[in-house]
Amino acid sequence: MDVTDLKINQIANIIDIEGKGPLRRRLLEMGILPNTLVKVIKKAPLGDPLEISIRGYELSLRKEDAKSIKVEVK
């Protein structure tokens, strides 16, 4: 499952970041790495983009970009 499958405020552990190129690297550099906890804070009124919380800060991402963040719920 990926981040977009999470319910609001559900905490999950990142297992992988798929894709390649600049977008993936940017995600990684923002601290979205395997073995990091992530949580969806809110969704925009039209359901996209969504805001996640990671490493103590919040970041807005589009659904299609967030789909590459694979997670597991413990």
């Binding site: 990684l28 395997p34 990091t36 809110k42 925009a44 800060y57 919040e58």
Partner: protein, 666 residues
């Protein structure tokens, strides 16, 4: 001495810049307000300059801001790099620091927003953090002006004595990443020395397959092979690919340092808690759009309703009165009739017609700065991203487009906050499709005199123009097949705007506007006046002995009139009005008035098809010269700006032709 100020977006960099230099750069609560590097002199220290570099998250060069910053540090070699960090978001901010450490330059850290950290009950042991990173750290609060003097002293000390960061091996000993980095550092040692590059930085960049760098340092084929082999081995041993390995190594080290030095009592600061409460309403599923429409509606009705109709008109009348007085005084003093016309009809009329817009522009920017400073603007980008993506734009382009309904000039200037160069270009291309408020007088004058259902026709024209803009965006998305720029944005905390910052922005915009009025508009008014007042033998056209028909403007207009026949325009006076409309759209009305006697007389001998084609052309053809001037500045290319304008005009021409053609068939 040269100090480079480096940090993430929206971490208080510009506020610190202002505090250190005593200058008055506009500070935004919107990520990415600093676009070009700015230079200032440190207060009371004349020979020390501070360079404010654009806000970046990393030094990996794939956005223009990152390349600017990286090149500045490596090639310009500032005496000291001042890295500003948002203490409320310390892990992510330290990522850039880890990369700066690899560059091996004199470095000092300003730990900003310490007041917010302390207020939330959390604490940061600055000494331990400093020890962990091997760099001097000064806790500050840039907005409250705390710790600034000490920071300045320490920064100068580091710069003067060239104090390098204490070397710390951030990767775990004997880990696969450690082995790879050291093997590559050994491999590229000579190259690094030759090109003056720090080898640790080169090694980590090469592991991340930075091709620009690998070409820059001229690796031999053999070395490239060996490099690939080392990376492959690292990936196998580590279980992660090259990028996760390197980036993960940096974050692992950050985790270790932060664990030792940061005590967390509450995961959110007071400001963050307040912001999420406000967001529960402002980005609420059902309330977000109604509130947004309400806010924008209010701003527009105040700016374009109240201020534009009353204050701008009052100013306009006052300025007209001034022209009359000057005219009378010059008449009485027996000045040359040409000189009077030059000053009154040419310069004063031209410049004043633009100046009368000043209140509207200033008030619009007052509201925009409120939206930006409070942090609401990024919420607008957040909620509008999905619809805008359909035409290949991101949420950040929405605000400039919206401003376009007021005036294209500030709209073009506002494109600086778009997400990428590509988005900026497309946004700039679409702005002319948003009918600016200066076109409204044309519509009310022309449509009001011709159609019974004037409001419907005007609304229809607005709708047509915006719909064509959307169509153009849609087509360009299909042609380029490019994906929209990734939308990755932090929603900043809501903040109360400061009076100083708001006034500052208004002053800056007013200054820009006045400057423009007295340069571009000044020259254009002069040219139009000249063409309208003289014939080709340079006789003054007084309207009595030499008729208006013989002026250069009339001749030129007559000459190009055949060009406009396909769109139904047969009269040179219409062409003349289109030309003068380029200085400012509303002067189109005044030209028609001067040449015909009144607008109502101008539309007596034309049919519905002609008038519609004319209006379609007017709503779509190139924006005024002032817009062109700012467009040229934003695109950083005269030829590209001309291309945009020519394309826009050509498009308008074909659309008008279509309308006229259809009307002939009916």
């Amino acid at each position: 001495m040269k100090i480079a100020l480096v940090g993430n977006q929206n971490c208080g960099k510009t506020t610190l810049f202002n505090a250190l230099t005593g200058s008055n750069q506009h500070v935004g609560n919107f990520p990415g307000v600093t676009v070009d590097g700015k230079v200032g002199q440190i207060k009371n220290k004349e020979k020390i300059s501070l360079v404010d570099l654009p806000g970046i998250y990393s030094l990996t060069p794939y956005s223009s801001e990152e390349i600017v910053t990286r090149d500045f540090i490596i090639k310009e070699k500032p005496d000291v790099v001042l890295n500003i960090i948002d203490a409320t978001n310390i892990e992510r901010n330290l990522y850039l620091t880890m990369q700066l450490l690899e560059l091996d330059v004199p470095l000092i850290i300003a730990l900003n927003m310490m007041d917010e950290v302390n207020a939330s009950g959390n604490s940061i042991d600055v000494n331990k953090l400093s020890e962990g990173l091997g760099v001097k750290i000064c806790p500050i609060s840039a907005s409250k002006n705390q710790g600034i003097d000490e920071l300045m002293e320490e920064t100068i000390k580091v710069g003067k004595n060239k104090i390098m960061p204490i070397h710390i091996d951030v990767c775990e000993k004997d880990s696969p990443v450690h082995r790879a980095i050291h093997a590559i550092m050994h491999l590229v040692e000579d190259h690094c020395e030759k090109y003056g590059l720090p080898k640790r930085y080169v090694a980590t960049q090469l592991i991340q397959k930075d091709e620009i760098l690998s070409k820059e340092i001229n690796l031999s084929e053999n070395e490239v092979d060996l490099l690939g082999h080392i990376i492959c081995e690292m990936e196998n041993d580590n279980g992660y690919d090259n990028e996760i390995s390197i980036i993960g190594m940096r974050y692992n080290y950050i985790d270790r340092v932060v664990k030792k030095s940061v005590t967390i009592k509450s995961t959110q600061t007071k400001e963050q808690i307040r912001s999420s409460k406000i967001d529960r309403i402002l980005t609420n599923k059902y309330l977000a759009f109604p509130i947004f429409i309400l806010i924008i509606g209010l701003i527009f009705s105040i700016t374009f309703g109240l201020v534009n109709t009353y204050i701008s008109d009052l100013l306009g009348n006052g300025l007209n009165h001034l022209i009359n007085i000057v005219h009378k005084e010059m008449d009485n003093a027996d000045f040359n009739i040409v000189l009077i016309s030059l000053i009154c009809d040419g310069l004063m009329t031209g410049v004043f017609s633009v100046l009368s817009f000043l209140p509207t522009v200033v008030v619009l920017f007052f509201f925009l700065s409120l939206l930006e400073d409070t942090g609401y603007m990024s919420r607008v980008a957040f909620i509008m991203d999905k619809p805008l993506r359909k035409i290949g734009l991101s949420g950040r382009s929405f605000v400039p487009l919206l401003i376009g309904f007021g005036c294209s000039v500030p709209a073009v200037m506002a494109t600086r906050t778009t997400a990428s160069e590509k988005d900026k270009k497309l946004t700039l291309m679409l702005i002319p499709f948003i009918p600016c408020s200066a076109k409204l007088p044309i519509f009310t004058a022309v449509v009001g005199g011709f159609f019974k259902l004037d409001v419907l026709v005007i609304l229809g024209l607005y709708f047509l123009s915006v719909a064509l803009g959307i169509l153009v965006g849609f087509i360009s998305k299909l042609i380029k097949k490019s994906k929209p720029t990734p939308f990755m944005m932090e929603l900043p905390n809501y903040r109360l705007p400061t009076v100083k910052n708001t006034l500052l922005l208004m002053w800056e915009k007013a200054k820009d506007f006045i400057k423009k009025a007295f340069t571009v508009i000044f020259v254009c008014s002069l040219i139009i006046w000249f063409l309208n007042s003289f014939d080709f033998k340079f006789n003054y056209v007084d309207g009595d002995t030499i008729s208006v028909d013989s002026s250069m403007l009339s001749k030129i207009s007559s000459f190009i009139t055949p060009l406009f026949r396909p769109i139904g325009i047969n009269d040179w006076r219409y062409c003349a009005s289109l030309i003068t409309g380029l200085t400012a759209k509303e002067s189109l009305v005044s030209t028609l008035t001067v040449l015909y006697g009144s607008v109502d007389l101008a539309i007596v001998n034309v049919n519905t098809g002609q008038i519609l084609a004319f209006l379609v052309f007017v709503i779509l053809y190139m924006p005024c010269i002032a817009t062109f001037a700012v467009l040229r500045k934003e695109l950083k290319s005269t030829s590209l700006a001309i291309l945009y304008m020519a394309g826009q005009t050509l498009f308008a021409y074909f659309m008008a032709m279509l309308f006229y053609g259809v009307s002939l068939l009916c």
